[in-house]
Symmetry: D2
Subunit: 244 residues, 4 copies
């Protein structure tokens, strides 16, 4: 089976301009994930906001990406509208899309959701427990029933997403909030997974369970072979009608 | 519009044999709910485990019930199998069914779910926050985004239910657990709602938001007019086939 | 209870420029529906593509619309992008949206879906049978298990929509095609219903069952009272944390 | 990866007692499927109603089955209740279950569904078109958008199943009926797939697309590694509470 071509996209701003984020991810979140996810069946590339004028996401790059990871937080507005639309279109054609942490408010994710995707939030070093509520799903294999993140940014309900196809995780936060923190969606024939952990101020992407979830999600989101179900869509009747 | 005929079924054992439960519900949970739910559009009756040899749930009672509430905790095993099957059959024909607290393990609920419906649990005076995750649903109208229960029995994932039709509430528990605490299901043409609050050791059914949720659920679960979609099911073709 | 303020939006082009469409709907599809839907609990207005430069959908009109019906077929491209975005935003805030027939390709619907929403189609006078697959849903009350449309435009799978929240109808077409022809979605807190019948060349909106479905959908899509769940979203912890 | 242990269970009555069924499946439906599904990653066994007094489904056989296929039509009532309950329990623990054709009315399927699972039906040599409505699902890979069965027993709505987790196929029947013909469900941590084709009077299991669907479903339904999420369910709090 061919390798899965993964592109990890990162805003890559906090890790340059904020000391605490830099301490967690000296080479950027994208590099941390690229190392953690390294595997024989994956071909991993990276891109970031200022990589080039298309944010490293040219038509060619996307055409050769099977699964795109997206991390952004403070600079969603700096992503070009046409690049965001290009990403969304490619997902609809089958590319997997894994939206990490604040990517709930990224341009491509909102284009795909058609919903505000707002959350409650709080930066207060909340302890976080991630609970698995879908034991048989490919994304939870090898992941325990629950795992701890010692500190995370609180993301809580009300999360104004469309009804997910599948609910995979619920997160508990020390301060009293709960959150649908792992959700799947389908757009066109592309598979989408949203996963909450990963505030830049905390080392969540060094956590083995977080890494395992993302690794599983990549395999799950791998595109099915392309099929143009609308080719010849104005087709002749498939069954001969009586008397015609 | 005709009144909705509600039967509130209660095990009614703890409130007789346990001092603390009795202090919360001197007349039983069923009477507490009957008073709280009193409304012009409802005709409320009650039944309990030892009301008569059919637990107060004769064929006639069920035939005249539009929505059945079910509370049980310690004596699920004492419910007659035939009565449980009768309840499940009536739900499939359209009667609404509201499973309260430990009713997740009641015989009728398990018959309807086809799944173990196990939970993690802990009696440790956990503070509980109930979060609304379905803002537009009839069951959440007039209910705030979240409400507190000062103390509740912890019910937590993994909750081995079938995938709910709709997820309505998620509960947060002080000790670190989260739970899909409000869920809808359909069986036959009957509507089912599971709702977690209500351990007998705490006064949760005196809480106005808990009462509002149950009141809403009754109206939501009201049966649609009966329609026998399988009548004449071995019917003649609905469209004349060519050459036949 | 306050009346439901309904706005019926129609492209209103075929009924002017095509003799056959005009014969079916001399005053336009919007007027046909307005008459059919007339009821004491509804306050019905109409708007159309060339009503004014905003297609009759000013901010004020939308702010005073509870449920918007949308019919368009040949001139989706002539709808202003800003008006389409305005409609989508208002849905996310709670306005109901009923997408009729070719509205699957309208700008507001596609913005809300985030998916191509393509279909197979054929104009060949196919007989159509609409099957109810959700007997207890408010949208199917008073609607028979199935009803016939003597001739309709075939709309068939593959329908590249997101997974619907609820599947309500499946349509059968004489030529061999099947279609998920009644589907619900949620975006923000707004309810959306897509319903297939209504090609301008056929008199489908004169059909009593089609009218009943739309009438039911209006009541179902009525917005819940507005609640700003993100107000104060960066809120103080709801539970006091130990040692803080 | 270990082989998937598949048991194909067949009523095996019509193929003995009915000439037309015997002509289609001289060795029985189970043998036809066993040959068609033969593959390096599968270890296939068969069982049938009269194989032994437990219908070939002893505790040991089930304990060593990863995915069970079930075909039954005329003799559902002859399956022992305890064996049916044993099958359902094993599914809840993770065994995959593929219910073929009339297995919608089999005892294990109904126990797992908690719903009547009635259908409309007609034996009238209806042409059948099976439409794929879930292009990215593992069960539809390598299966065309639609395929024909020259003649099949009509199974049509209303199909009184619980809301499926996923809708995979819709079937079109010549006589005017439509049917949710491929549906997935979860019970406990077991995966279930219902698939309509396969009346004994027609050679549907010789069809390559039908075979491909079943082959895919087996891989999809393979159980996840067992995990007892309720072990130690009355556990100590996972987070230390303040002041306790």
């Amino acid at each position: 089976m061919a390798k899965i071509r993964v592109t990890i996209w990162n805003e890559f701003d906090h890790e340059i301009n904020n000391e605490r984020a830099k301490a967690n991810y000296p080479e950027g979140i994208h590099e941390c994930l690229a190392k953690a996810l390294k595997a024989d069946d994956l071909e991993i590339a990276t891109a970031w906001l200022e990589k080039d004028e298309e944010h490293g996401l040219s038509q060619e790059v996307l055409a050769n990406t099977d699964v795109l990871l997206w991390w952004g937080h403070g600079r969603h507005g700096d992503v070009r509208d046409d690049v965001a639309a290009r990403v969304a279109a490619r997902v609809q054609q089958g590319m997997g899309f894994i939206a990490l942490h604040s990517a709930h408010h990224s341009k491509p994710f909102r284009l795909l959701m058609g919903s505000p995707c707002d959350v409650r939030w709080r930066e207060n070093d909340d302890k976080c427990v991630v609970w698995n509520v879908n034991a048989g799903h490919p994304i939870t294999q090898g992941v325990p029933l629950y795992f701890f993140l010692e500190k995370e940014e609180m993301y809580g309900e009300y999360f104004s997403i469309p009804t997910p196809d599948e609910l995979i995780f619920i997160s508990w936060f020390e301060g009293g909030n709960a959150f649908r923190s792992g959700c799947t969606f389908t757009r066109g024939i592309g598979k989408i997974f949203y996963f909450q952990p990963g505030h830049e101020m905390y080392p969540s992407y060094h956590n083995k369970d977080v890494q395992k979830v993302i690794a599983n999600a990549i395999r799950w989101a791998r595109p099915a072979p392309e099929r143009d179900f609308q080719a010849g869509a104005k087709m002749a009747p498939v069954v001969e009608k009586a008397g015609k």
